[in-house]
């Protein structure tokens, strides 16, 4: 896996490109035929081939010849992609001229929303566990 030297060059990826890349991260490496084998993608062979070729040209995949086809391998770790994408987005947000304070407030708001969502999820987990314990207690009493 290579490390990113300049995060600014991280290319924008389309939804299908992202799905293909995610699958390659899961599998480690694959040919186009192997990518299509489990039926996860319903696109034509040539569409997948064109897309992985585009990812290769963007510097996101390595490839080695295997018979008449190519075997593709991701160049970068998934965590590295996440880190670079997040950093790039934050840089773009904060570097947007006079409105950086406003952008920062959006960021704080988004983080707060995320925290609130997390707390809601945890609260519902606690309540579910409480109900389970209550049901168990009742069952024991009935027995």
């Amino acid at each position: 896996m290579r490390a990113f030297s300049t995060p600014e060059v991280w290319p924008q990826l389309g939804p299908f490109e992202q799905r293909l890349l995610r699958k390659l991260w899961r599998q480690g490496s694959a040919t186009v035929r192997e990518l299509l084998a489990d039926g996860e993608f319903h696109q034509a062979y040539t569409t997948v081939m064109t897309t992985v070729d585009r990812l290769y040209k963007k510097g996101l995949l390595d490839r080695v010849a295997e018979g008449k086809a190519f075997r593709y391998t991701p160049c970068h770790a998934f965590e590295e992609l996440q880190r670079v994408t997040a950093l790039d987005s934050i840089r773009q947000l904060l570097g947007s001229g006079d409105t950086s304070a406003l952008a920062l407030s959006y960021l704080v708001e988004a983080v707060s929303d995320h925290d609130a969502q997390l707390l809601d999820d945890l609260q519902s987990l606690v309540e579910r566990k409480r109900r389970e314990l209550g049901d168990k207690g009742k069952n024991r009493e009935q027995l």
Binding site: L118, L119, L122, Q123, L125, V126, K129, R130, L133
Partner: protein, 312 residues
């Protein structure tokens, strides 16, 4: 000059040994966390690894370096001090001064904050020790332990209003477990032995200390669920201010991890986890001490050879 050389050489050996051991501790702590042992033991091991460089350096300096210099170094008047021991000695003195100032600054700040928070507070007893538990009327964190010599658990009014009786009882028990473990004192000790890159080890210890207090506070599944509920509720409260280092916040550490552990708690998993007792370290310490005592003469000679190499 002899005394000055002795001090410089001793300080040099101390600082070199401390740096070496600290660098080793930074590598050694990482495999500790995945061990299948009780969190109390993980916290103890991490604390030991953090303070071991300082303890070992002090022992080696006073038990070996100073006596070897006193007994084996010829008292020649013309001998100079040498640039390396002088530079290392100055580094050691700066390090000691830095450690002391950090401790004093932190202790002063903690005392000031604790005094402010405790103004008008009254003893609070919800099945907790009222001599250490106080309900504050001022703007304070929801539930926190503050202070080193006389640690106090502070409960805010909003916490009392928000938590049910059982949730509050178990949350207070969690904080009292920090009192029993002297966690604030441990935090203060960390301040007196600074070393670059130790922040990660200290964070890992803090996380383990929270999990250990969680484990010690609960004794059944209902307790675990109550503690998880209290954690989630208090995490919703906006923090008043950044806590001083000598304080343990109830909702510290990874919230998701703590809640997940508490909800998955069962008696069997608790029993399966191995508890490493403190007395386990006594046999190796006694063995090493005996070995050093038996071979004290050769060890002193070896130490002196090393210090000679340093002086040159």
């Amino acid at each position: 000059m002899f005394a000055l050389r002795e001090i410089a050489v001793s300080l040099s050996c101390f600082v070199l040994l401390y740096c070496l051991l600290s660098a080793l501790a930074e590598i050694a702590w990482r495999p500790v966390q995945p061990l299948h042992v009780a969190q109390q033991s993980v916290a103890t091991i991490l604390f030991a690894l953090r303070v071991l460089p300082l303890v070992v350096s002090v022992i080696v300096t006073f038990a070996l370096v100073v006596p070897s210099f006193q007994l084996l170094e010829p008292r020649a008047i013309g001998d100079g001090m040498g640039a390396i021991p002088l530079a290392l000695g100055v580094c050691a003195l700066l390090w000691i001064a830095c450690g002391c100032s950090r401790v004093i600054a932190m202790q002063t700040r903690t005392s000031r904050v604790a005094t402010r928070w405790l103004e008008g507070a009254r003893p609070f007893s919800a099945n907790a020790d009222p001599t250490v538990t106080f309900q504050s009327h001022r703007e304070t964190p929801p539930l926190t332990l503050v202070g080193v010599c006389h640690p106090r658990v502070l409960v805010s009014e909003s916490t009392v209003a928000l938590l049910s009786h059982n949730e509050l009882r178990i949350a207070l028990r969690h904080e009292l477990e920090h009192v029993k473990s002297h966690d604030n004192l441990k935090k203060l000790i960390f301040r007196c032995c600074p070393f670059p890159g130790m922040v990660k080890l200290e964070s890992a210890w803090a996380e383990s200390a929270e999990l250990a207090a969680d484990d010690a506070a609960i004794s059944n599944q209902c307790d675990a669920v109550d503690l998880a509920a209290a954690l989630v509720k208090l995490s919703r409260l906006v923090p008043v201010e950044v806590l001083p280092v000598c304080a343990m916040d109830f909702a510290a550490g990874s919230l998701s991890r703590r809640v997940a552990r508490l909800l998955a708690w069962d008696e069997a998993s608790k029993a399966r986890r191995v508890r490493i007792r403190t007395w386990f370290v006594i046999p190796p310490v006694v063995a090493v001490s005996l070995l050093v005592t038996i071979a004290y003469g050769p060890v002193l000679t070896l130490t002196h050879d090393v210090t000679e190499w340093l002086v040159r």
